[in-house]
Every structure is written in structure tokens, then in C-alpha cells.
Symmetry: C2
């Protein structure tokens, strides 16, 4: 049984929603699961092609009058099965995030206190705006997709983002106090 990378499964998963084109997959990603998975067109289009080649999805080109060609993809039986099997698999790896801020702070003894302070202040600002973004996405899901059964799971992942971000903000504040 052939295996794919997680990015491929992510695309497979999105094809179960009403996002059916490369373009709308990208949009959905940016709006809904951007906080734990992001992807570029350079991966989406070749992956869609691969899914069709492997019989996990089907494509039909719709040339609606005027509009440029739109390629609509839909999962096959086999595609849905492949997705389900992947979800069932136990977690392979939980990679640690790569954090440039922590990397810089780790070597903070080579810098002035002021520099370290502004590094942390900048980071706190980024985290705060990220938290606000999560809240906005959350509202969007509650309003636009509340009827869908997926919505509950989507909100769980957002809750994760909010909690972890909040913890990071608190760390910034605590560390700023102790570094001065």
C-alpha cells in the first residue's frame, strides 16, 4: 500500500469539503488550517495531478461561459478510503516547531539586554495579532459552517492554537520581567 506525505493527505481531506479546485484548496488552507498546516501552489497543483494518476481523485474541467477553465476535483471511493486509513494510523512523529525567536534568545548573552527585550516585545506583538486572527477564524466557522458536522473538529484545532498562543504570550511577559 503506497503512502503519501502529510501534505498530500491534507489535500485529500480538503477534497471532502466543498473545495474542489486548486485555487479554492489554497484559500481554504489559508483561512482554516493555516495555523498548523500551510502549503503553496507549487505543491497543490502537482499533488492534484498525482492524486488523479493514482486513482484517488477524478478531475473534470468546467469551462463555464467566459470564465477561465476551472478544474474540479472529487475524491474517488479509493481516495476516501486512503484518507480514512491515514487518520487511523498512530501518530508517526510530533516534530518540534522551529522557532527563530527562541534560537536568537538562546544566544542572547552575545547581545545587549535592550536587544533581547525588543526581540521579546516584537514576538509578543506577533503572538497577540495571531491570537486575534484565530478568534476571527473561529467566528467565521461559527457563522458560516455551524451546520456542518466538521465544524466541531475545526473549532477544536482553533482552540489548540489559542491556548498555545496564550501560553506563549504569558511566557513573553514573564521573561520580559526577568530579563530586565
Amino acid at each position: 500500500m503506497k503512502t503519501y506525505n502529510n501534505t498530500t493527505y491534507a489535500i485529500l481531506g480538503i477534497l471532502t469539503t466543498d473545495c474542489t479546485s486548486g485555487y479554492s484548496i489554497k484559500q481554504f488552507m489559508d483561512q482554516s488550517l493555516n495555523h498548523f498546516w500551510k502549503i503553496s501552489y507549487g505543491q497543490i497543483y502537482p499533488t492534484l495531478k498525482l492524486l488523479v494518476e493514482d486513482g484517488l481523485a477524478e478531475m473534470k474541467s468546467t469551462s463555464s461561459s467566459g470564465r477561465a477553465d476551472k478544474n474540479e476535483y472529487s475524491l474517488t471511493e479509493q481516495g476516501l478510503m486512503t484518507l480514512k486509513k491515514w487518520i487511523e494510523q498512530p501518530i508517526a512523529q510530533v516534530p518540534a516547531e522551529r522557532n527563530e525567536v527562541l534560537l536568537k534568545l538562546f544566544f542572547g548573552s552575545h547581545q545587549s539586554r535592550d536587544h533581547n527585550v525588543s526581540l521579546l516585545e516584537d514576538y509578543r506583538k506577533i503572538l497577540e495579532s495571531r491570537y486575534a486572527t484565530y478568534e476571527a477564524i473561529e467566528q467565521g466557522i461559527r457563522h458560516n459552517h455551524n451546520e456542518q458536522q466538521d465544524a466541531m473538529y475545526w473549532l477544536f484545532t482553533l482552540d489548540y492554537g489559542k491556548r498555545v498562543t496564550q501560553a506563549a504570550i504569558e511566557w513573553c511577559e514573564y521573561t520580559l520581567k526577568n530579563i530586565r
Copy 2:
């Protein structure tokens, strides 16, 4: 002014400690900053070579009697300057982590409740052992490096890991309650 990727700066930074060989850099990474930056030999050795080529480090081969050759690297003046300049730069990007667990949970409506529950339980276990690892590293730093001025910064980054991991554990528990 040539720029490098963060992995190169990480190696540059480690060369300010008493880790001077490719092998010991890897060890230091695995023990101390593994939670926010990891790296393989396939990157370390070529990067060290590059640093020497660019005049940021110097290498001398020490053939201590018997033992295999050991290549010891030390930063040049220019190398230290390059490191300091990088730390000063404002944060370029704060990439969101890629989280396989959240990705699977996001598509959880295609799975049975039991599967989602065990996904979360597995994740919680992983997070708990990760938390324990952080505490062990913390103790290691307090005992072995407490005199070093770097130690304070190292402990800050560990505190981050602990706080964020703790928040994730709490999310697991909360989500498990709500998913059942």
C-alpha cells in the same frame, strides 16, 4: 553582506560554546535546543565547511594519539560579528508549526469517536513525556552550566517549551471531555 539560513546561524552560535566539532555540535543540539531547532549530520558537516570557506570559522585537525581525527572549529572575529548582526535583525518569520495530530483531528468527522479519542490520548502521552524531558534538560543545565552566563537564556527557552507543552496537555484533556 551575505546572509545564511537559520540553521547556519544556529551552528555559528553553538561554536561560541565549548562545542567545537561536528559531532559535539550534534550532541549539544540534541540535548539543549532540540525542542525548537534540530539538525542532522547531513547539514552540519557541509555547513562547517562553508563557514570555513567564508572565513567565519577556522578548522584545525587534531590527531590525538590513537583516536580518530577530530576536526575542531573556532569562530573568527568575522564569524562572531556575523552572529551578532543576525541576532540584532528583527524577526523575519514566525512559521506556524506543522502538527499532524491537528491535521488528523481536523478531518475527525470521517472517523469514529473512538479513533479520535485514542489520537488525543496518544498525543497527551507524547506531550507528557516531552514535558518530562524538558524538566530533565533543565536540571542538567542548572547542574552543569550554572556558572555560565548563557545558562539564563537557555533556561528561558526551556521555560517556553514547558509552558507551551503544558497548555497543549490541558487542551488534550479539555478536548477529550468534549469529544466523548
